[in-house]
């Protein structure tokens, strides 16, 4: 019966029992007045009650409402996939030597069914690093999910994986998906969608673990734990692991593979810190820190282009005015909602523009060759440790200009700055061992 496939390794809710007897459980478990959603783990409050007497879970409502009238049905994952005689990898690209080292390590840990972390700096090519391990897993007949907290990452990843594994059937699941669910060997989905699964995946790839609060969201922890087979394992991908993951690494509770070098093989520039007492008060009078002005003038004299990161959109105008006052000219300001954002970023790419003054929003996915990076107010709350490391990675992103200066101006050395420096130092120690310079 084809219809059985939708139950494979999943909890499917129904208010009416299916024709065949299946493993089932109550959607909302109740005991002595307390009620808990068995899909997302949320404890229901007394007000989550409907006039028809049912109680419902509000936390996982987006996946379809579960009430005390529902049961969840499942069929244990049978791995009903065609057997492959050769590697399903149809990618024609080549891994760089340091990527090969990481890819081999990842594949060995996956084969040994060890939970692992791939700690790869931005620009290391982490997706491709996973290809050999993924090819191996699929060839074993494993069911694999690649989960990301962000829909846009899923949408971007799906066609890439479809090309790299042309013969492997894939399903893409997210909140905006209109297609009905299909049973496939490779599932690309948002982390929330994992809540629908039950011991389904032999290998579970969780992308951008730093971008969702795995440590603070018991629901997502539960999703990962529940979707993975007890005999299976997972790999977390990140550029900037949070304190919880770093602790697991330090305690050797999770195996880790570092990709500390960017694809051109160079180390991350370490962030230099300059204390600038009360720079905001001075800015109100139209002045910037003297050291900052001298540094930027120096950059302009030698034709070094730069990015100046500032905390808020509201800071852009006064800082641009103060720069002009100080004779630092030839750049523009840009922020996420700027209608001319694309044009301005393109001008910087084309080297028609000497510098950008920008907010933290540009941190991901924007690359310019040979730029210095300056952060003003790096101790402010908008700059998380992860954001600071990502911003530092913007400097000198080009094989011809691998190094770049990163300077951070702040009122005080915040924890986030110290942690970012420690993380860059840690990655660079790993990088030196791998021959980085």
């Amino acid at each position: 019966m084809d219809n059985d496939e939708q139950f494979f390794g999943r909890w499917v809710p129904s208010a009416r029992p299916p024709l065949k007897p299946l493993v089932n459980r109550e959607a909302i478990a109740q005991s002595r007045g307390a009620a808990r959603c068995t899909r997302c783990g949320n404890w229901l409050t007394v007000t989550d009650q409907l006039p028809n007497g049912a109680r419902y879970c509000r936390q996982c409502l987006q996946l379809g409402r579960l009430t005390t009238h529902h049961k969840l049905y499942t069929i244990p994952e049978p791995n009903q996939f065609p057997r492959m005689t050769e590697s399903p990898l149809t990618w024609s690209g080549q891994l760089k030597p340091q990527q090969v080292v990481a890819a081999t390590a990842v594949r060995k840990l996956a084969a040994a069914k060890k939970n692992q972390l791939l700690w790869a700096v931005t620009g290391a090519g982490k997706t491709e690093i996973l290809y050999p391990a993924l090819a191996w897993a699929l060839q074993q007949g494993w069911r694999v999910a690649w989960a990301s907290p962000r829909v846009d990452v899923c949408l971007e990843l799906a066609p890439r994986l479809a090309r790299a594994f042309a013969g492997v059937s894939q399903a893409v699941l997210h909140g905006k998906q209109e297609q009905p669910y299909t049973y496939r060997q490779l599932t690309i989905c948002t982390t929330h969608q994992l809540l629908r699964f039950q011991a389904a995946f032999d290998w579970l790839i969780v992308d951008e673990v730093d971008a969702f609060p795995l440590t603070t969201s018991p629901m997502l922890q539960r999703a990962v734990k529940q979707a993975q087979k007890p005999s299976g394992s997972h790999i977390f991908l990140t550029a900037t692991p949070g304190p919880h993951l770093q602790k697991l690494v330090a305690q050797r509770k999770i195996a880790v593979t570092y990709v500390p070098l960017r694809y051109h093989g160079y180390l991350l520039p370490q962030m230099m810190v300059h204390l600038s007492w009360q720079w905001r008060q001075h800015l109100l009078k139209g002045r910037l820190p003297g050291h900052l002005v001298r540094q930027l003038r120096g950059y302009q004299q030698i034709g070094q282009r730069f990015l100046l990161f500032v905390p808020h959109v509201a800071d852009l105008a006064p800082i641009a005015a103060a720069l002009a006052q100080a004779g630092v000219v030839g750049g523009v300001t840009v922020h996420a909602a700027d209608p001319e954002r694309t044009a301005k970023v393109q001008a910087m790419r084309d080297e028609r523009c000497q510098f950008l003054v920008t907010t933290t929003i540009l941190e991901r996915g924007v690359t310019f060759p040979n730029v210095a990076v300056v952060i003003l107010g790096g101790d402010e709350a908008v700059f998380s440790t992860a954001a600071l490391v990502q911003i530092a990675g913007r400097a000198g992103r080009h094989a011809a200009h691998p190094r770049g200066e990163v300077t951070c101006y702040c009122q005080s050395q915040s924890r986030t700055i110290q942690q970012a420096r420690a993380m860059i130092g840690h990655l660079n120690r790993q990088g030196r061992q791998q021959g980085g310079q």
Partner: protein
């Protein structure tokens, strides 16, 4: 800090000096400012028949085509914000979201002139699967009378899945409750529904109420 029932973000509770001096319990904000602003109230001029927002209080194009004198008033514009609200409240069945519009509706009912409030019913199957009637869910203790019933075999496809042309030829879905005539005789009836789109549903309801001997029928919808 209480969280907003719609977006789940914390709501900073503002307590005024008057509230402190009044010694009464502080009113707890259940919906945050940003979420309240997702809904657009109908203010100023509206169509004198269907109540849709427009510059002048003239009769709109849709109402001219009806060639009748139905009087409807609506509280919010049926825009992307209200659709998102209905998507979560009615279609995903998030009953807790009923509080988002309750205060606005309570004020409107206080101002309205009527003797009996009659909410549009949902059919039995919908009530069982959704678990509530989205219209009565908005009421906060105002007395109402369920004068209408849904004809048993009426529901074949949801209204929202139909085109305008299809909806306009929908057969009468309502019948009068057994005791409706006794209760509504010589009364001014106010019908209450969620959204006025084509006006077909409300006219079916009005036709039935008119058979009950009511003195007058007007209607109020949450959105137009």
């Amino acid at each position: 800090m209480p969280a907003c029932v719609w977006c789940n973000r914390d709501i900073p509770q503002v307590v005024t000096l008057d509230q402190i001096l009044s010694w009464g319990p502080f009113p707890v904000q259940e919906v945050c400012q940003a979420c309240r602003e997702r809904l657009t109230p109908i203010t100023g001029s509206c169509c004198s028949r269907c109540g849709r927002q427009q510059r002048a209080a003239t009769i709109c194009h849709d109402c001219e085509r009806w060639r009748d004198a139905v009087i409807n008033r609506a509280l919010f514009q049926y825009d992307a914000g209200f659709k998102a609200y209905m998507q979560q409240y009615k279609f995903q069945g998030d009953y807790a979201l009923r509080v988002v519009v309750q205060a606005t509706l309570a004020r409107a009912l206080q101002r309205a002139t009527y003797d009996v409030l009659v909410p549009i019913p949902v059919d039995v199957a919908t009530w069982q699967s959704r678990g509530f009637n989205q219209v009565t869910g908005w009421l906060t203790g105002q007395p109402f009378f369920q004068a209408l019933e849904v004809v048993a075999d009426h529901k074949e496809r949801p209204q929202s899945a139909k085109t305008r042309a299809e909806r306009l030829v929908t057969p009468q879905p309502f019948s009068l409750a057994p005791n409706a005539c006794k209760v509504l005789q010589h009364q001014r009836v106010l019908l209450l529904d969620d959204v006025y789109t084509t006006g077909r549903t409300i006219r079916h309801a009005i036709d039935q109420i008119n058979l009950s001997g009511a003195k007058a029928v007007t209607s109020l919808t949450l959105a137009r």
